[in-house]
Amino acid sequence: LTIDRTESPMVQRRHAEDEYAHELATLAVGDDRIRPPGWKLSPAAVVTYLLGGQAADGTPVTPKYIGSRRLIEVAVATLATDRALLLLGVPGTAKTWVSEHLAAAISGDSTLLVQGTAGTPEEAIRYGWNYARLLADGPSAAALVESPVLRAMSEGRIARVEELTRLPSDVQDSLITVLSERTLPIPELGGEVQARKGFNLIATANDRDRGVNELSSALRRRFNTVVLPVPAGMEEEVDIVTRRVVELGRALELPEVPPAVDEIRRVVTVFRELRNGLTEDGRTKLKSPSGTLSTAEAISVVTNGLALATHFGDGKLRAVDVAAGIVGSVVRDPVSDQVVWREYLETVVRERDGWRDFYRAAREA
């Protein structure tokens, strides 16, 4: 077993800073605006990296996040003011994605990551000990096992905490000193680690399941909050789904299937209408089901449908292939969601031109 950071073409997923190393490098070269201390790029260049555009020499920069410019600007400005950033949103709104790319663009390193779970210990935020060393030599810097947060502090980089609200409350609160005093005392060594300039923290949390471990107000007020919304427009969402489906299909090495834009559009339409509680033409209001119906789910419904069509069908994505997936995403609660879904089928789908096949498939599913 070797653990290292060497790049291998066989890794399933490459880090953002490796995947987009070229874009980051070109942006840095042409970036003549003031960079906050410890930052690899100026705030404006970070925004360009995330939202896409052009580097100074005309190299195109692909958009990483498709959505509101104002949100990304607030996020970057937050990090530039030394405030920690809390990205909120329902599942599947690209919180982790944005946090990874922000870290990659600002510090060139998106790997200083703590995954929040119910079992995450305090050592994951502070530090642990290499017990063999500790027993042999006593407390020493060499016996100390740094947490990603501690490393980010000492190197002046961005640390990331995923699913902050899943962390137990006492573990969450160990972040307070880090964020307010910008220091982490290590009493065993009789010292402390002070954060270098450039250190900051991006946390993500899901605002759907509130009350998992609600943040204490002391911690909460160290963060500026940015809520990532579900995509605003139909075309935007179709664009996101299509892009990601193609990327995923390539990763899963599914045979090239012609991109069935019509079917994708239908999936996105159903998701959007039920999520917004309003038909796309704005005429009919609808009830919303209990599930989140995120873009990520739409992506998985389409990918799933593609796999079905490839392996069991005629290789062309049809209504039947996506219907079961859609019903599964919508009907999470067997009673109330069933009502919502039936009402939607009967009042909207049944009367829509060209949706006959989908109506039949959905009734059977």
Partner: protein, 754 residues
């Protein structure tokens, strides 16, 4: 130039941004520096007599000048010229009032305005807000910040020697910029161009008149018009030619109170001001507007129980600054402040931001006008109606019965209902008196002096009671939170006869019912709609819209009903039974084959479910039997299944109640059903019988007496055919001789021959 002739100096032209706080400040400063003899303000000349009221100490902005036709067609649109505290025109008025300088309004008269065939035209695009257009072109999304950065900061040199030159500097620059803008803006549509030509001619006429009478003239008008008023003016003859022969109507004008919210929705000068609260803040706050604004935002949140600390405010101010720097702006504007408030003060919660938007950015300021302000048209309309309907306003309560078959009483009823919609509760509807038909209404009338104020408030909705009530109903429908509220509004619309309001209310109903998860509410809403649809008792009701809404309602009812009928307790089941009956009747009333067929399918699917309360299951089966979905044979089969020992007595009794309630003829005519019931009844064990008795009594006591008697007679005959015959077949040993001995006594007791 006239100044060179030594006669009069040129007037000063203060081109402003309507409702621009920066302009307002600059106007005050310029007026103070120039000390004019007369101030001309863009606005209808008919308002001149109302100017003194603007200086009244009881006058509070926001207020509006209201012009309405003094006579003739009351349905003609009224026109408003609203002023906020931060409006340059208002500041000019207040300055003039405080310094006892006369004010003249210069513009096309309201008389011409209201005489125009179509609704009053408004300037559009760059014409309505040329300063905003300049700001946008310079990359600002908040024109007021542009004014501050570019106009004020550039001209406001501290210690400038000549205060007048400093105060007029911005206006000269704006005038020059406008000349450029006007030269490069494409011509508007013909109608708009003619309108503009006339308005500017009227302004020039007013300006010439003023120049004849006064030495020092100041003009406050939209920046767009400055080049048109700049010397050399076109000839008086040319302007007179433009204005000759325009149609006019007689108008009356008054001041009415206005609100910030109404400013935001946009009527009158310029378009809607989206952030009157922010502008007001910018106008009254001279130092550190951003931190002060955030402090106020924090106060708004705290008032609603959201804990916001001073540390939050500090961080929000820092973020706003950082955002402004990143976006390359010298100072944070409303956009940056809003973003910072959302990220820090509201912790990302859009609902809290909504609170700030409503309370602060738009604001809740309500204006006030002095007591001696002339009356509003709606009050005249009410007075006219009171005379016509011989219904004088009297403060002492009195009761009154209206017979809606009489035209005058029907009109009285409508007036009272409409005033009720407007919040003028002159009449209070009393409960129907017993024993009278639905064409009777009883009211208690009492006129209160405060109604005059309510009518002034209502005047913002329209010039007649009918129009105002229609607009008010539409507003209420949009704001209604629940389906029940909207359903009540539909009822009010029908009672007050507001056919123009109905479409909006129906649209709201359509939306609310889509969101309402309680099928019961939907079911409650249906009968009234079905009745209206069937009998069309409202004139000019939008029937297709109503039909669309009703169809949607029924579809939603049958989609939601299966989930709503399971697991109900006795009381809820009884309520649901009544609702199902009502919907059933409504569907029958509508008499549309496809609706009826789907409703019947729903009934059939529900009728055999075991988790449905007995009362409902019985009722559903009965409805199916009545419409022929179930033949008598099948119904008997279902009843016999229920009336077996495996089913708890309570459920069976409830089933019987549901099945038999209302009409007993079924039992009279179908002996086999009666036999089933009879057999079950006699087989109930004594302790369970006590439990079932109240239900049974309730069921049977509702039948009319003759039916009860007939059922009783049938039941007796059942007994004789069931138990009597076998008794006759196996005769016990009777001693005839001894029996004969008792016969006379029995005969005497029964009074008949045996």
């Amino acid at each position: 130039m006239s100044a060179a002739n030594g006669r009069t100096p040129d007037p000063i032209l203060l081109g402003v941004r309507h409702h621009g706080p920066g302009s307002a400040r600059a106007v005050r400063r310029a007026l103070s520096a120039y000390q004019p003899d007369v101030v001309l303000i863009e606005g209808p000349p008919e308002a001149d007599p109302l100017v003194p009221l603007a200086g009244d100490e009881d006058m509070r902005a926001p207020v509006a000048l209201l012009a309405y036709p003094a006579a003739g067609d009351p349905r003609k649109q009224a026109a408003f010229w609203p002023f906020a505290e931060f409006s340059p025109e208002w500041q000019a008025l207040r300055w003039a009032a405080a310094h006892e300088v006369p004010v003249k309004f210069v513009d096309l008269p309201a008389a011409v305005h209201l005489a125009a065939e179509d609704a009053p035209r408004r300037e559009s695009g760059v014409r309505s807000d040329p300063v905003g257009a300049l700001a946008t072109a310079a990359g600002y999304d908040d024109p007021e910040r542009w004014w501050e950065d570019v106009v004020e900061h550039r001209f406001d040199r501290p210690g400038a020697a000549d205060e007048l030159a400093a105060a007029l500097g911005p206006f000269l620059a704006i005038g020059e910029a406008m000349a450029e803008v006007r030269a490069h803006t494409p011509a508007p549509p013909e109608a708009e161009r003619v309108e503009e030509e006339r308005r500017e001619a009227a302004m020039r006429v007013g300006l010439r008149t003023a120049l004849r009478g006064y030495d020092r003239v100041a003009v406050v008008c939209g920046a767009w018009h400055v080049p048109a008023l700049t010397a050399p003016l076109s000839t008086a003859a040319a302007d007179a030619a433009v204005l000759r022969g325009l149609p006019k109507v007689k108008v009356a004008m008054t001041w009415v109170p206005w609100t910030h919210a109404r400013l935001a929705t946009g009527q009158g000068y310029g378009a809607g001001v989206r952030s009157p609260g922010w502008y007001h803040h910018l106008f009254v706050t001279l130092q550190d507007p951003v931190p002060r604004w955030l402090v106020r935002a924090a106060a708004v949140l705290r008032r609603d129980g959201v804990p916001v600390s001073s540390a939050h405010v500090i961080e929000a101010a820092r973020l706003a600054d950082a955002l402004a720097t990143m976006r390359g702006r010298p100072l944070p504007g409303l956009v940056e402040v809003t973003d910072a408030a959302l990220a820090v003060l509201c912790e990302g919660d859009p609902l809290r931001l909504e609170l700030i938007q409503r309370r602060l950015v738009v604001g809740e300021r309500l204006g006030r006008v002095p007591q001696r302000t002339p009356g509003v048209p709606i009050a005249r309309d009410v007075a006219a109606a009171q005379r016509r309907l011989r219904l004088p306003p009297q403060p002492l309560p009195r009761e009154m019965d209206l017979d809606l078959r009489r035209e005058i009483d029907l009109e009285r009823s409508r007036l009272l209902h409409r005033l009720g919609v407007l919040g003028v509760n002159w009449g209070m509807a009393l409960a129907h008196r017993r024993g009278r038909g639905t064409f009777w209404e009883s009211w208690r009338l009492a006129w209160q002096p405060e109604f005059a104020v309510d009518l002034v408030a209502a005047s913002a909705y329209g010039t007649t009671v009918r129009d105002a009530a229609t607009a008010r109903v539409a507003e209420q429908a949009a704001a209604a939170a629940s389906l029940a509220e909207v359903t009540a509004l539909v009822e009010r619309c029908l009672l007050a006869e507001l056919p123009e309001g109905l479409p909006t209310v129906l649209r709201a109903l359509d939306e609310r019912m889509a969101l309402d998860h309680d099928v019961a509410h939907l079911m409650d809403a249906l009968p009234a709609l079905a009745r209206t649809l069937r009998y069309g008792d409202v004139r000019r009701t939008d029937l297709p819209a109503l039909r669309h809404v009703t169809d949607g309602l029924i579809t939603r009812i049958w989609a939601g009903l299966p989930a709503a009928v399971g697991g109900l307790d006795d009381a809820a089941a009884a309520g649901m039974r009544d609702r199902i009956d009502a919907v059933h009747a409504a569907v029958a009333l509508l008499d549309q084959p496809d609706l009826t067929a789907r409703w019947h399918d729903t009934l059939a699917a529900l009728s055999t479910r075991d988790d449905v309360h007995g009362l409902l299951a019985g009722r559903l089966n009965r409805l199916m039997l009545d419409v022929g979905l179930l033949d008598v044979e099948a119904a008997r089969g279902r009843m016999s299944l229920i009336l077996t020992t495996g089913v708890p007595v309570a459920r069976a009794a409830a089933w019987i109640e549901g099945f038999l309630t209302g009409d007993g003829l079924l039992l009279v005519h179908d002996e086999r059903l009666l036999r089933l019931v009879d057999g079950w009844l006699t087989g109930i064990p004594p302790e369970a019988f006590v439990e079932a008795l109240p239900l049974l009594r309730r069921t049977f006591s509702e039948y009319p007496a003759p039916q009860r008697r007939q059922i009783g007679e049938r039941a007796v005959r059942l007994g004789s055919s069931d138990d009597g015959r076998p008794a006759g077949a196996e005769q016990p040993d009777i001693d005839d001789e001894r029996a004969d001995l008792v016969v006379p006594t029995v005969r005497a007791l029964l009074g008949r021959r045996v």
